[in-house]
Symmetry: none
DNA sequence: GTGTAATCGAGACGGTACGTCTAGTCTTCGT
DNA sequence: ACGAAGACTAGACGTACCGTCTCGATTACAC
């Protein structure tokens, strides 16, 4: 009944070698100077093995992200009970990550890759932090009455990640008060002094 | 005494022809498939004339932006006296521009180009609207007492543009309430009903 | 155990197309204005396919000669029993060939190419006639007692071909008695009148 | 009344600098890799100054030869009273010159240049020795009854030089008996033993 | 076992574009 | 007017990769 498969099966070893090689070369050379030939050579694999399973360079990079070969887990906001300091800590962590020179080429290349491939954009978005954990933390703040109840929490994460991405694109250096100011903006004013 | 200049002077005609050709091909093919050879051919110019004056493809694109060959003037917020509707109108205008399929490749390519070249990032940022006009409008709102006096107005534009850029990268479709929600976020809550 | 051969095998069709194109363009443009790009285009072949198999332009031309794409078979001396008239006829034939305007660029270009590549020099030498056939004819003359028995027959052909090549280089026009005089020189004096 | 000449006159310093630069680069790089740009740079001269006075690269090289910038004076045959040893000595001298590795590129490049420019061919021919001095020496031998009176002496020099040029083109190594054999050929047999 | 089919590493193929070099012309300024 | 400096259009150089294809070896199911 069912479609029968004959012949050799896909080599997992090759698949992983390719993803590893892609990640290594991506971080080293950036998206624009990443070449399929170099990946194949680095992975010890024929070019056709890559073309057989991935339609484009961007799909390959996307799978690297999905499988976690490219970026560490996103920043996860803590819940200390104080939404302001938690958000600030999270923003600081994200900026710290993006400003590390080791991650510089990586992040910028991801932005370039994202402009080719929506999946990469979504993954980048998630990994920078605007994932369920952040939404969760904001929802908790709503429940605790820390923030106004009609705050569009889903959008807040995006706004913050967007600010980060824009800083990457403009190379504007961040000053140390910036996280506080961003949190002020999205939470509607500075922490009450009282 | 003074530095001597001899030999023929730079040809303005060639310079403009190159920028025009770059802009035309950029909009048509996108950043990644933009080739120096095609630009030279389109401009009726030797390749060396390009390499003589611009070190990289991204520098050439950056000059295109600076000289206004690539994008129309940024969105300029009106001052109707109502900061909320003015900001919303501006956000809507920006989204409308980026969502026009004619501008789609252009914008995404600009993001890719910006990842190579900070100048392009800055220009993109300005042209999308986070320029002095927006800051001006927000300052006016502060003076008029429309918004809380300690709003970090310089950051507000960035936050909004960042949200737009992120939408571009994730291909998340925008719903029609989004402008309102974004304005709510940055102005600290919805318009009072009273 | 044995050396493994993997990957696709060299395309004979491409090889022949390249040699044909080289021969055609060489005869048309001459060695100095022969370009690899034009050969590749004419042969319908990627440039890399040429660079993969031939290190230099002159090696390519040399293979053309070796495979007989460039010049017709050398002049072959007859054996009428009279060594003088046979040699004269052969010299006349060689001069006639070199003086034909159709062959002019070809020959001069071959001389230029030979200055880059000894193989071409040797082939040119052979094709102009100083090959085994000429040596054979002279050996027969020695055996028949037509010429002095200690004549260094191997050198005679070279001397004659050398005279031809020099005429080519100096563009000195040949007078019709020249073949006779050359044969006189190498055979040690004019034909006895008796 | 008379034609007036106005403006600066041709700079002899530039002319000589250009010829010197040409000779130096010719000997260093060979004819094929000799570029007008490099000559201009080496001579400290604008390209136009070269193009103004010489139509082609080969004309420039030809003038270098004519002015003696490229090759030393030709070999001059002595008159010891013995035509055989004088000719042999001359052939040996010519071969020695051409076989010196320092002259190797030079000579081969001259052959290449000659294929472009008849003047260079003629000069090469003369400088290698087939000039009036050689003809003179042979005429003296005729007068002295050393050689047969009807020897076409003008052609003998060409034949010898031709043999040398052919050796250059085929890279055939010369054996030490070759000069003797060549003289045997042109003088009609070996030296009588008696 | 013996086919049949799919995968693999390797690498040649027709191409496009790279960034560099040189040709030969033209323009500007200094002498 | 001539010469240096050097920008200009044009186009070949040799290299790097593209995505496709062909090769021989290997693997695994179907018969």
């Amino acid at each position: 009944m069912s479609e029968q498969r004959r012949g050799a099966v896909r080599s997992e070893a090759s698949r992983v070698a390719i993803l590893n090689a892609t990640a290594a070369l991506f971080a080293e050379k950036g998206y624009e100077h990443l070449s399929i030939e170099a990946i194949a050579a680095e992975a010890g694999v024929g070019k056709q093995t890559i073309y057989r399973w991935w339609p484009t360079k961007s799909a390959l990079v996307a799978e690297c992200m999905i499988e976690g070969f490219l970026m560490p887990g996103g920043a996860i906001p803590l819940n200390s009970g104080d939404i302001r300091s938690d958000l600030e800590a999270w923003v600081v962590a994200v900026f710290r990550f993006t400003e590390d020179p080791d991650n510089d080429v990586l992040i910028r290349s991801l932005v370039a890759a994202a402009s080719d491939n929506g999946d990469i954009g979504r993954r980048l978005h998630d990994r920078l932090g605007a994932s369920s954990e952040l939404t969760e933390r904001l929802a908790a703040a709503v429940r605790a009455g820390e923030v106004r109840p009609d705050l569009p929490i889903a959008d807040v994460g995006e706004v913050l990640v967007g600010a980060v991405v824009l800083r990457i694109l403009t190379r504007e250096p961040t000053d140390e008060k910036l996280p506080t100011r961003l949190v002020d903006i999205v939470l509607g004013g500075p922490r009450p002094v009282a």
